[in-house]
Subunit: 203 residues, 2 copies
DNA sequence: GTCTATAACTCGATAGAC
DNA sequence: GTCTATCGAGTTATAGAC
């Protein structure tokens, strides 16, 4: 081990700190409600330093959604690895809901992509496209889980799996918004139970 | 009839026109994404004229939500009058969903209050309070419809009616957001069917 | 990588003429 | 009721020193 710990900058990784605070701000105030001034002030730098890491606000927004998408991709992959058996689909769905719950407890805000969706017609096209991709990512994963679970006989629902997945994911996003609006985590947990329980065979 | 038709102004009711366009803009771009400049330009007046009708932006926001709430109150009352029998709860729910669908077709945007919820921490307190009240209004009505329908034996679901109402309303809001994000009305209609159908006894 | 300084613009809001 | 004109503050973004 010749090359050691941190060649890093004085305050460990400003870029990551910027992303963390920016995500928090956007989830609480919206994209247009977050300014470089607020952002820079929160981590103790000047706005010019923010522009060094993210030349334009659109670049920041795009990086924000990209990181958020990746985090969810990792989450889904982890769940797939932990529950490879199609018959475990009910558990998988419940763990997925748990992750949303944990995310809400951590940030206290609604889904980043739901916030951005509300403002999408003022966003750079690249950001809007990534928001849609985030929805499609999650819907595709839910489609697979729902379809395999029904085939394995552990899930029950009407209609094609992709339609069910779209409806379920939208419902979960709505539950996050409801919990955020009333600062009430039980609105999220109650909704996820209400949505997922009826899908499970012999619960 | 001594006092006749219209003492009105040149362009019929600027105030109403302002509210109409402002709602459209907020639903598409968010509260912080709508400016007095855009708004005034759209109806062919100057920003000072907007301030004449709504002294501050907060006043405009409050008037917007108030009108939106009233429209929904009227809708719910109309549905109650058309379907007074508790056993008609399934039809009532489906008509309610139809109204959301019609609203989406008209504006093409998501629910005004969902947009405002996403930005709520930057809004005047009065507006935030009215957004919460909008949620509670609708949840209370759904609670009554769900509860009476289950008593009458035409609806079936688990748990207390108010919890079901909160979950269902949040899910409908999420479906509106999903439809808006993909400019796809079928996402809304499919989701409402998927949510409401399983509640109906012998459909 | 972070800073100071500033450009260029938009924002909500007000005063006062008509 | 709508206008012109303007204010002060906030916005994203850039140039150049350190």
């Amino acid at each position: 081990m010749l090359i050691p710990v941190t060649p890093a900058s004085p305050q460990a990784d400003t870029r990551t700190a910027l992303l963390d605070v920016a995500q928090e701000l956007v989830q609480a105030r919206g994209y247009n409600g977050m300014s470089f001034r607020d952002l820079a002030g929160r981590i103790g730098v000047r706005t010019a330093s923010v522009h060094y890491h993210f030349p334009t606000k659109g670049d920041l927004g795009a990086a924000l959604v990209a990181r958020y998408r990746e985090a969810f991709t990792t989450l889904r992959a982890t769940l797939d690895a932990a529950h490879p058996d199609p018959a475990d689909a009910p558990t998988k769905l419940l763990r997925y809901a748990d992750a949303l719950h944990a995310s809400f407890r951590k940030t206290g805000g609604m889904c980043l992509c739901a916030v951005l969706a509300a403002e999408s017609s003022t966003l750079p096209g690249e950001v809007t496209a990534q928001v849609r991709a985030f929805f499609l990512d999650n819907e595709a994963w839910l489609t697979a889980a729902l379809g395999r679970g029904r085939e394995a006989g552990t899930l029950r629902f009407d209609g094609p799996p992709d339609a069910a997945a779209r409806s379920l994911f939208a419902a979960l996003e709505g539950a996050l918004m409801s919990a955020w609006t009333f600062s009430d985590a039980t609105r999220l947990s109650a909704a996820t139970q209400w949505l997922i329980r009826p899908l499970i065979v012999r619960p």
